[in-house]
Symmetry: C2
């Protein structure tokens, strides 16, 4: 594709950009051995070129605040977008693609919101738009879905895609912390940002899931239609009860083929401790893919951080350096992916966990069991324990497979009973 | 690369070949959607074309016993070698590469033994020799090392690469079976072949490790120099003791950078139950890679079987169908990989597990501890238990890091003591 040297135009020198710069310096000889050529950052677009930066000393990067210095430089071989945000990166990436210049990005939000436009533009100009770093940091799930599993029909894909949320839930489980304390600890340790909203409310995982649905199914699933739940409501009591049944609680991003449509969403769910996904603890990410040929395949690794994410950016850069023909952007030859057939969330079938908060008086269990039975929700396991609080007790049920529509209706009916002391908690079970 | 249809010449219609055929039929429309073209097996080389076969009915494969029908047919786009063995596949693959025809193979033994010759031939004729299915079945570790982790220095790679051995060890652990009973059960259930020698003696894992060393380090590690141990000697007693310390016993294939060389081998080792690798049970395979940028990354899946392995073969076929430029065979531009700097096995440093079988009399522990101390082997944990057998007792030590040279010398010295009733068992600890 290029001459001897590969020159990058890098937009953004934050955590990931600086991580990429570090890897390019520390592994320079190795990268040259792999490629037969060196990779350098020629120009970097930053907000403030005069700010002091902690970069490797032998880098000789031209810092600029003007996007034109990236777009108008014919010497740049690849544009690497690591600035974050939506409008500025859209302007940069679309201008680069229109010039036929290959682009590497880690911007999951942008691709989830406006991926269709950008992939169309890339196809129109016959150039590459690569994004390995946009999902699950260092885990090469984009490449695996685009290439390695391309011949598989994907029956289901289940991910732990947000390290912050997984770290918080793990700390709540292992140390018995409540959500707020665990969040503060995650912030102290650098596993959560000062504003953790996107992570703890599930939207970061939702962005990634939209990209994975495209790669696995070749379908466009509008972000606005994706059911998204976070972890802010998770109660330590439910972690305890789940543990008694052999489950842990995880923030799950899942898509699966069901009843002729795609059942997709981000939600807090119970996962069996014995399952390989139940062992994914702390800030780690994992993606479990069920292919109709390969069977279950899981990838596990660091989903964030300067070097792991930089490693994924570098993978795309090296792939582009190696080959100049037929960029494989979406994993499908189509320029625009068709819309997904979306299974109505009400029709989703799943096992469920219920915790009813009830007054401890005769007949309560019979009423609850009666409502569940009328809604075709059959109980697999139950726990009732007296708590020190006295008359106010939790009743916990694990059900067999039931339809969400029925679960919602049953919860509504039971919540209206006079013996209910707090809204009923219910989670899906994987 | 090709016209509308991709025509395969397939050598071998055994388990994997039939698996590939099944996937090509069941996923035909999906593969066409991914590639924009169909993939069919035109001709298959088999030992006996007249034998009855259980193949999908709508396949229309020309069966032949003559290799020339593959080599002389200009309509064939890719040669797929799934016959196994060494000489016949070498003849077929080298003839195809010489014609400039791309080849896909699952033949780990051939690539481990004669990969250098074949990769040189492929480079000379500018064509592809792909082999995703040769390591860990459906797990795309070849692609991940060649592409996704190409910019990483690999500090260590640790694999559970043989599903038969892992299944047997898991059954010994979970059900307390002895080796022979577990092996027979594995044969009954189809997890072990009638002749399981390659699997249980570690040679199958050794073949795979040689290929992984090439991909991770770009070095040729001669198979004959690789230390290889199997699992036939594993005693249920050691599984029990390992369990008491929180470990399980696994057949491990590992390579790591150590003291300026590569420390590589296939060996039975203790793995912490809490480590993600310690959760890999039954017939599953896993590869844990430690990159200097990506950190720990694990891939987990089915390492054998018709459909998982067929899935990996198909991944190579589709990669070739997608791109005709710059085949990336070894992951390095060099035609011949340099020899590895091999760390002498005696210099390997590791923690160790010892089980001494001793007569239960005063002073025994002092002698053992004295010999270990003289050899710079320091004890981290110890267990001694009386057993029903009376005077003959096991003494178990877990050590801190020690050099294999010292461990061997200490074991030799201790085995010569009059209180030793059986040869000392020792394993590395990961």
């Amino acid at each position: 594709m290029f001459g001897g040297l590969i020159r990058l135009g890098l937009a953004g020198l934050g955590t990931v950009g600086a991580g990429l710069a570090k890897i390019l310096v520390s592994n320079a000889d190795w990268i040259e051995r792999r490629l037969g050529r060196r990779v350098v950052i020629k120009t970097a677009l930053v907000r403030n070129p005069d700010k002091a930066r902690d970069l490797p000393p032998d880098l000789n990067i031209l810092l600029t605040a003007d996007m034109k210095d990236l777009l108008d430089d014919p010497e740049l071989d690849i544009i690497v977008e690591l600035m974050g945000g939506l409008d500025a990166p859209f302007a940069l990436i679309s201008a680069a693609l229109t010039q036929g210049k290959p682009v590497v990005t880690a911007n999951k939000a942008l691709l989830a919101e406006r991926g269709n436009e950008l992939f169309s533009l890339a196809a129109e100009h016959g150039t590459a738009l690569y994004y390995e770093a946009s999902v699950a940091g260092g885990i090469p799930i984009v490449q695996v879905l685009k290439e390695s599993l391309a011949g598989n029909r994907i029956k289901a894909l289940t991910g732990i895609l947000n390290g912050t949320a997984n770290y918080i839930l793990t700390e709540m489980t292992v140390r018995g912390l409540d959500f707020q304390t665990a969040l503060e600890q995650a912030q102290t340790k650098g596993y959560a940002e000062a504003d953790p909203t996107l992570d703890i409310q599930g939207m970061d995982a939702a962005h990634k899931l939209i990209l994975l649905i495209r790669l696995a199914y070749g379908r466009d699933y509008p972000l606005a239609q994706l059911p998204v739940q976070g972890i802010t409501q998770v109660n330590p009591l439910d972690i305890l009860f789940a543990g008694e049944f052999g489950y842990c609680i995880k923030l799950i991003a899942q898509v699966r083929e069901s009843q002729g449509g795609l059942d997709a969403g981000v939600f807090t769910a119970l996962v069996r401790r014995d399952d390989i996904l139940g062992k994914v603890d702390g800030p780690f990410n994992a993606v479990l893919v069920e292919g109709n040929a390969v069977g279950p395949l899981m990838l596990y690794g660091q989903g964030a951080g300067d070097l792991p994410t930089g490693s994924a950016v570098l993978a795309d850069i090296m792939a582009l350096a190696r080959s100049d023909c037929n960029p494989n952007n979406t994993g499908f030859p189509e320029t625009v992916l068709p819309k997904a057939e979306i299974l109505a969330p009400d029709l989703v079938r799943s096992r469920h966990y219920f915790r009813f908060s009830v007054l401890d008086r005769p007949g309560v269990l019979a009423v609850i069991a009666g409502v569940l039975g009328q809604r075709n929700i059959s109980i697999a396991q139950a726990v009732q324990k007296g708590l020190p609080s006295g008359r106010n007790v939790p009743v916990v049920f694990i059900t067999h497979t039931a339809q969400v529509r029925n679960v919602r209706a049953a919860v509504e009916e039971i919540n209206a009973q006079s013996f209910i002391t707090a809204p009923t908690v219910h989670y899906r079970i994987l």
